[in-house]
Amino acid sequence: MARDRIIGVDVGGTFTDLVTIDGASGGLRIAKTPTTLDNQAFGVIKALSIAEIDLADVDLIVHGTTTTTNAVLERKLSKTGLITTAGFRDVLELGRRTRPQPYGMTGQFFPIIPRDLRLEVAERMDANGHVLTPLDETALREAVGTLIDAGCEALVIHFLHAYANPTHELRAAEIAAELWPNSYITTGHSLLSETREFERGVTAAVNASVQPLLERYVTRLRNELTGKSYQGDVLVMNGNGGMVSSQLVAREAAKTVMSGPASGVMAAAYTGVRAGEENLLTYDMGGTSTDVALIRNGTPPISNEIEIEYAMPIHVPMVDVRTVGAGGGSIASVNAAGLLEVGPASAGADPGPICYGKGGTDPTISDANMLLGRLNPDKLNAVAGGIGQGQIAQVFLDRLGTPLGVDAQQAAEAVIRVANAKMAGAIRMVSLSLGADPRDFALFAFGGAGPLHAADLARELGVPRVLIPARPGMTNALGCIVADLRHDYVQTVNQPLGEDDVSVIHDVFAGQVAAGEAALAKENVTIQEIRKVFSVDMQFLGQSHVVRVPLEHATPSAADLRTGFEAVYWTRFKVELPKIRARIVTVNTSVIGVSTPVDLACLIDPAGRRDTATPANHRAVIFDGKPHETAVYWRDHLPADAAFDGPAIVEQLDSTILIPPGDTVTSGADGNLIIHIGGAA
């Protein structure tokens, strides 16, 4: 299948976004329509119709979806049963002995699979994978029957130490398959063959319980599309930033959690590399939260240890995106100490900020931007509800200004200042926790609200440049277009380094490569080349945390492993421990089907550009307590070499960019704008 005409469509919490680029002509079409929560396929079809796309001409549709994320967070899951090692059915509910927050002894936890659907059978491996108790096949058949009778649609088989020896899980799955009415059977070791029974079990349970939902959804979507003469496959974005065929995706449904955020980071990396900015801090501010990721050398970071909510770890490789709190809907308040606070409470998307006119009554970050003239006040008139700026100002005065002893405008500016200080702190912590100084990075700002705050944040962080892509509000959909096919494999080996030969490691790598290549072959999508990324996770004996050691090839010698480990350890911790032995914990391979490059130059239509950067109008915007007469540009009209100074605002359909006084703007490749903080080069 060629990739001449690809459609990327991302279903987010609020909007469904569509981007398509015609590979031959370079033509671009975009669409934005509200997400249809009950069946996301309706929104997708609507977006296709808005963009007036003839599906018969389309080669490939790549889809980012929140189906599985929402199902898990709202616990709208398929009824799922668990069969596990005798004595351990409560592992999924006991967790790792935690509480939801450091202070406060309250809170609740609801396991993915309730206790009465968690059954036990006799079987046991030890940590080396030696059988201590054989699998009781009779008891297993009984347990499977019990769960079928209870009406379970999906089944998890999760045994202790199956990462070391999966024989019992495989045999149990084989028996269960004879009896189970469908193919929704997940074994614990198959998604991630890694130590830690709680995390592996939760991952398997999440996978099983969203599998039927995802399968039904993609099937329905495929049918809808085929009914409109679409001939191709639908690929689904995984949380690892790679895509996978919709025919295969439900098998490992848990991997689609975090699909949207991963997609955005992939687009950022791709855009950055084309622009010569390989080290980026990505900053995606939406309505309810802000996501941050750190891209080094053009490569998005992958983590196996994402926790999507309290005690809900999903340990499959996913793009390491951290949520750092505040979004446009975060609510400002004055606490009992008389101090201004922003968040953690949020007006969310519904009712949302006051300025949405959907019944919101709490002062939010978006409302503050509106009061300060940073968002276009004329747009207020367009929305339902007829909310006026005066009404918003009154709320700011009553709720914030009066208790703080300032006027409404000062209160609004304070909200932005406090929110920016907190966000900058959180971004700094993310960066530092990954061993990076934010000043060595450029800020890549996207999402509807990201470009409004980016310059101020960059100043707080000491970041010299902000890169604003051509379509900040469509970044996730764009990520669908530029993504590669990708399959990740992780296998626990727990082998001390030094005494044994390392051929075991080589064998694991070879097996992982074979599996990845087979999966790519099944997907039948044109790729440029197959790239393989090899690494091992290692630690010093006696430690509990690991570091990832990248490898150049799949046949490293023991000396290569030791040297590589020591180098990584030194870089991260500045500690050398030559006398302590090291251990290889896991062996990891990513098999990547590299896509044909997509030219992003068309993201802003050259025909719409004008010869000079001329403001569409001016309006008063408040900076440092004073109104500044500020030029407002329409982004699609800017010439390809536009350069101008702040204060300025650039508006476009999907975002608003704020350039404070003292900063300057230049134009880059692919329609990017670059904000130079304090005019820095």
Binding site: G87, F88, R89, D90, V91, E93, L94, G95, R96, R97, T98, R99, Q101, P102, Y103, G104, M105, T106, G107, Q108, F109, P114, R115, D116, D126, A127, L160, H161, R196, E197, F198, N335, A336, A337, G338, L339, L340, E341, L404, G405, V406, E413, A414, R417, V418, A421, K422, G425, M429, S433, G435, G542, Q543, S544, H545, R572, F573, V575, L577, I580
Partner: protein, 548 residues
């Protein structure tokens, strides 16, 4: 007041950021998993004159709320009296003496004077739990120690770093007295580096806003935290509130220890009086004053989590010095149990006293023990000695809105328990069961959370098992008519013989042979409210799921 409230908010966030970055730096670089993984450490900024807490990292272990302000104050006093060396720029003091504003010996504190314009502007200090500081048993938790000398090396405040350079003589004394000394250099460097990170960040903050503005902001934030705490405690009607919480025994003498608390509430003020508590004990369940105070503060922060940790927030909380009780231990009383166990029982006393006047805020008693089971032995297969720790959670108390959490972390901790698979990889043990302890939650309108039960077998060689747990004699208290949670139980199964420790929850060095099993059942949480008022639907669900 000349400082505007917005700048105040921003400086507050800035000070917090300095501490959070110290926490992060310390954990990231530390070698010891106790610090790196379990975050058993804390970092903060302290007043130059009296050591009062200015700000503390959000990720610090709760038991350290407030302790370092006492150790810093004692250090300042000793410097003034000439009993500790005078500070110079880039000095770092090390101290772990429990009686000088500390906890137990394993919590090693570093303190660094922070200079601006040649004068001390404030102190930066941190605490890290070292895996060993010498003493009779590896790890320091001897259940049968009768004096602090048996618990490990005790350091008065001495300058480990002098003008930025590690003193090799002091360091060699330390290394000659602790186990696995070769790994400690990594932790020492990490702990010192965290203070330097704090210094850099604090300098940046002061350069940006000016020393005078920040100084004024610190004073104003302290006043405001105090006001906020006063307003919150005024939710409590004026009056006297009492409670008693019990510790099973001190590990040496098999008699319960009582924490008797009387809280006097007057306008904007709470007075905590523990003077009727038991006298100092023979075994290691004594608490030093700083830990007793800190335990009250952490309990109050569990009740009012919205108040920032600062000296201002503590000001309305007056704790009368419990002279002559086991909550104000003097040299040479052993104290290893104070940070992990006694502190939790003090918190329980605070919860039990305040749940009636604050029924919407306070829960029934949580399991309140760290559930420390240590197994030490020799593995004939690997030829190595090992020490394995299994720390366990228990049920939390029910509250006005919902049932307690099952298998929650200790009241004073936030660290995760290790996976069974990792325990079995690293030690010659086999778990037979790791399960919710059915029926252990105290009955109530909202039930207590369930405890944990596990059974683990020694597969090879010989070993000794030691236990420092609690609530074996009395279960976590129910509240407002709710029943107590189930008591902690420990059994050693040798064939068909079952041995139960004399002190129920504490014993040192029980000999085990291959095939012997240790069975532990941790406490359930206390119930909240009259059980007869429980929603019948909740009872039906509990029955269906085998929770009751």
């Amino acid at each position: 007041m000349s400082i505007d409230p917005i700048t105040l908010s921003v400086i507050q966030a800035g000070l917090q950021q300095v501490c959070d970055e110290m926490d992060l730096s310390f954990s990231r670089a530390a070698f010891s998993p106790v610090i790196a993984e379990a975050n058993d450490r804390s970092d903060g900024i302290y007043d130059a004159k009296d050591g009062a807490l200015v700000a503390q990292g959000a990720g610090g272990l709760p038991v350290f709320v407030g302790t370092m302000q006492y150790s810093t104050r004692v250090l300042i006093e000793m410097i003034a009296a000439g009993t500790a060396a005078a500070p110079r720029p880039n000095d770092i003091y090390i101290v772990n003496d429990p009686y000088l504003g500390g906890t137990h010996l394993m919590d090693v504190r570093f303190a660094k004077p922070f200079y601006r314009g040649g004068k001390i502007f404030c102190w930066l200090s941190n605490t890290g739990h070292w895996p060993d500081t010498g003493g009779a048993v590896p790890g320091g938790f001897s259940a049968s120690a009768t004096s602090v000398e048996q618990e490990g090396l005790r350091l008065p405040p001495v300058r480990l770093f002098k003008e930025g350079v590690l003193d090799p003589e002091i360091y060699s004394i330390i290394c000659s007295n602790i186990r696995v000394a070769d790994q400690r250099i990594g932790d020492v460097k990490a702990q010192a580096a965290a203070l330097m990170v704090g210094e850099d960040r604090l300098n940046a903050l002061l350069d940006r806003y000016g020393d005078d503005v920040v100084q004024e902001a610190i004073a104003e934030l302290r006043r405001r935290a105090e006001t906020q705490m006063r307003k919150l405690i005024d939710e409590i009607p004026d009056g006297t509130y009492t409670s008693t919480a019990w510790i099973d025994s001190d590990g040496v003498v098999n008699e319960p220890l009582a924490i008797r608390l009387k809280i006097e509430k007057t306008a904007g003020h709470l007075q905590f009086d523990f003077s009727d508590s038991s006298p100092p004990c023979m075994g290691p369940m004594n608490s030093v004053l700083a830990t007793t105070l800190s335990s009250v503060y952490l309990a109050m922060r569990h009740i009012f989590p919205e108040v920032p940790i600062s000296a201002g927030a503590f000001a309305p909380l007056e704790v009368l010095r419990p002279t002559g009780t086991f909550l104000d231990a003097q040299y040479p009383r052993p104290v290893s149990g104070c940070a992990a166990e006694v502190s939790q029982r003090i918190a329980e006393a605070v919860f039990a006293a305040l749940v009636a006047p604050l029924p919407g805020r306070v829960t029934a008693a949580p399991a309140g023990t760290s559930g420390n089971f240590a197994l030490g032995g020799h593995d004939p297969e690997t030829g190595r000695d090992y020490v394995m720790y299994q720390l366990s959670g228990g049920g939390y108390g029910g509250n006005a809105d919902h049932d307690g959490i099952t298998n929650g972390c200790s009241t004073i901790g936030i660290s995760k328990a290790p996976p069974i698979e990792i325990m079995e990889q690293n030690f010659p043990v086999l778990y037979h069961r790791y399960a919710m302890r059915e029926g252990s939650g105290g009955a109530g309108m909202f039930r207590g959370g369930l405890g944990l039960e596990y059974e683990v077998e020694l597969r090879r060689g010989r070993a000794t098992a030691s236990f420092v747990m609690d609530h074996g004699r009395f279960g976590p208290q129910g509240a407002l008519g709710g029943a107590d949670g189930a008591v902690n139980e420990v059994e050693i199964k040798r064939g068909d013989k079952v041995y139960t420790p004399e002190h129920l929850s504490k014993e040192q060095d029980i000999a085990l042979s291959a095939g012997d099993r240790v069975c532990v059942r941790t406490p359930g949480g206390g119930g909240y409210g009259d059980p007869s008022k429980r929603d019948p639907e909740r009872i039906a669900v509990d029955k269906r799921l085998g929770r009751i």
